[in-house]
């Protein structure tokens, strides 16, 4: 069995409630942190090597140390629970199963940052989790972990849940802050970064749910101990949401450094391919990261087994590698069409573009249309080249990284599966997803 830290008590009956959570060691990190100086807490997080679990993998301790602290100006901590990256459902799992872990993490992190008001920004579709969180927050207030004078320390902290309304772009931290201010989710131009001017123009830290939850074990076991878990610069454990053509879709906590092969085929995790299918491709870190064919996801260009870690998945750069991203691991068997899958992504990014930058607003729409044309049997080889050209012109030319996120899946699909695009063009109609249609039809049909 792999090591579990965040989900250690996942199966304890009643862990959703305060009493059981507390009996299982809950809120110990707050008791410990409240006796430490804020600088010492940040130092532990730095030592732990914890990196952001929202997608970019930026070192959390370093991010915290950038927070500006002007006299008399409020600072904010905002938890990013917008979780909308296709293939990602780990934050949802964590919040609904062990809500107090997030709340404990928010308190401990607020102590480190000198924050008196913190918000959890959660995507609107997770309304039922809002209720779970609000119940847990009320319990935390009732037991003295939140509110005025926490544990008699003289420190005050208020924590609120703020609900969004269906917009992937509000996961981008500056769009999230705009949304939290009651506006459209248009990303801001950086700099200034939120650490200097964030919510209401005040210094703000935005962290992912899983990052904040991981602060709890970091403080409990100490940064140095935490850094020993995992591999190299990929310290700790990571929640992976696995979906697609596997036997056991779900959320798995892995110690970073296990092999991709183990993750897909062992019974402890995905349990192998659905119906004994053959692995064709994997999108390893949520829709934005490059798709890789079976051989490249299982091993690196050097022929070594590929590892589940920030560095392991990125090995080979975009030529032969991908990214850990948000940990949304989508598996496809040989009946799935990479072109059709890409079309679902292209439609997604077109729908979710906020529309501020022309390359993103227009380019995502063009890519969706061209893919539609190719799938419809009217594509030409020039269309494939055009797709390649458009994605190249979006990448790096936009205000926020959504443009890149829309471009990379297109680039990687063409890079690794060009022949499949050509087959659609050369044999219109023949490839129309027949195998996949039948295969999938069997999954949902009446038994």
């Amino acid at each position: 069995m792999g090591r579990k830290i965040l989900l250690e008590h996942d199966n304890v009956p009643g862990i959703q409630g305060y009493d059981v959570y507390r009996k299982n060691g809950g809120y110990a990190s707050v008791e410990k942190a409240i006796k430490m100086t804020p600088e010492a807490i940040v130092e532990e997080v730095k030592k732990s090597g914890l990196r952001g679990r929202g997608g970019a993998g930026f070192p959390t301790g370093m991010k915290w140390s950038f927070l500006a602290k002007p006299e008399g100006v409020a600072r904010y901590l905002v938890c990013n629970a917008d979780e909308s990256e296709p293939g990602t459902f780990k934050d949802r799992y964590l919040m609904s199963r062990i809500p107090h872990l997030l709340i404990e993490g928010m308190i401990t992190s607020s102590l480190a940052l000198g924050v008196k008001t913190a918000y959890i920004y959660i995507r609107g579709e997770f309304f039922y989790i809002v209720r779970i969180l609000e119940k847990a927050i009320n319990e935390a207030y009732a037991n003295g972990w939140l509110g005025k004078n926490i544990l008699g320390s003289g420190v005050d902290l208020d924590l609120y849940v703020h609900v969004g309304a269906g917009a992937y772009i509000c996961g981008e931290e500056t769009a999230l802050l705009e949304s939290l201010e009651g506006k459209r989710g248009n990303p801001r131009i950086k700099p200034p970064f939120p650490a200097i001017a964030g919510l209401y123009g005040c210094p703000t830290v935005v962290n992912n749910v899983e990052t904040i939850a991981a602060v709890v074990p970091v403080i409990n076991m100490g940064g140095e101990e935490y850094a020993k878990i995992g591999i190299g610069k990929s310290a700790g454990t990571k929640l992976i949401s696995a979906s697609g053509h596997i036997n056991k879709p779900g959320v798995y906590e892995i110690e970073m450094g296990i092999t991709v092969e183990d993750f897909i085929y062992s019974d402890e995790y995905c349990g192998g391919m659905l119906n004994g299918g053959k692995l064709k491709a994997v999108v390893a870190g949520g829709s934005s990261v490059p798709i890789l064919p079976a051989d490249k996801i299982l091993s690196t260009a050097n022929g070594e087994k590929r590892l589940m870690s920030y560095e392991g998945l990125a090995d080979g750069g975009f030529a032969t590698g991908t990214m850990l991203g948000s940990g949304g691991f989508i598996v496809m068997d040989e009946t799935a069409s990479v072109v059709q899958n890409l079309h679902t992504f292209a439609r997604f990014y077109h729908h979710e573009s906020c529309g501020q930058c022309s390359p993103c607003r227009e380019g995502t729409g063009w890519m969706e249309k061209i893919l539609h044309k190719i799938l419809d049997g009217h594509g030409t080889l020039a269309d494939v080249d055009l797709l390649w050209e458009i994605q190249g012109k979006i990448e790096g030319n936009t205000i926020c990284p959504l443009g890149d996120a829309a471009a990379w899946p297109v680039a990687s699909a063409i890079r690794h599966f060009r022949s499949e695009f050509e087959a659609y063009v050369n044999n219109p109609g023949v490839l129309k997803e027949v195998n996949h249609y039948n295969n999938v039809y069997n999954l949902v049909k009446t038994h």
Partner: protein, 186 residues
């Protein structure tokens, strides 16, 4: 449209209970930053005023938050959970992004279209159902899935979908994002 005139004639005002909640929500944000409460308030308004945000409803929210109506309009039209036109009592939101597509979302949509005799985006003649295809709802591990009101329906088959839609029809109630829901898997 008939719906519209009903809304326009009624006096738009939150119930006394809702107003207490509204004030609590506004108090979560610093003084002078009450605009932050806009999205939460629009959710409450949509739930309370027939499942959509008419111009008078949006104007009412603007007046509660002391902001310009246009600040409400631009937000209501940006976020996909807000309806600025009347919808059926049950909006059936089917995810069809990658993971759901891989496990049969397109086939589910076809099935629902046939069963309800409407296309994506349309509302049934009796005003009971609106079909809306949506992007990833964070339920990819239990695909295919759909959402009705606040309830996630996961690991769907045609049979399960039939059962759920039949039940909705028998109940005949409007489902909103604020409903209490049964939590099955997660």
């Amino acid at each position: 449209m008939e719906y519209k005139s009903i809304i326009e004639q009624m006096e738009i005002k939150f119930s006394a209970d809702s107003l207490i909640l509204v004030n609590k929500i506004i108090a979560r944000y610093p003084a002078g930053k009450q605009k932050s409460a806009l999205i939460p308030l629009l959710h409450h308004a949509q739930a309370e005023f027939d499942g959509w945000l008419s111009a008078p409803v949006m104007d009412y929210i603007a007046s509660l938050l002391l902001i310009q109506p246009v600040e409400v309009y631009e937000v209501a039209t940006f976020y996909s959970m807000f309806n600025v036109e009347p919808k059926g009592k049950c909006v059936v939101e089917v995810c069809r992004t990658s993971s759901c597509w891989l496990r049969g979302a397109n086939q589910l949509v076809e099935h629902i279209e046939k069963k309800l005799n409407i296309k994506d985006g349309q509302t049934t003649a009796d005003g009971m159902f609106t079909l809306k295809t949506v992007e990833c709802l964070g339920s990819c591990g239990t695909a295919p899935m759909m959402m009705i009101g606040a309830q996630f329906h996961e690991n769907l088959t045609f049979d399960k979908v039939d059962e759920i839609l039949n039940l909705c029809k028998t109940e005949g109630k409007r489902k909103t994002y604020l409903d209490e829901v049964i939590i099955d898997k997660y």
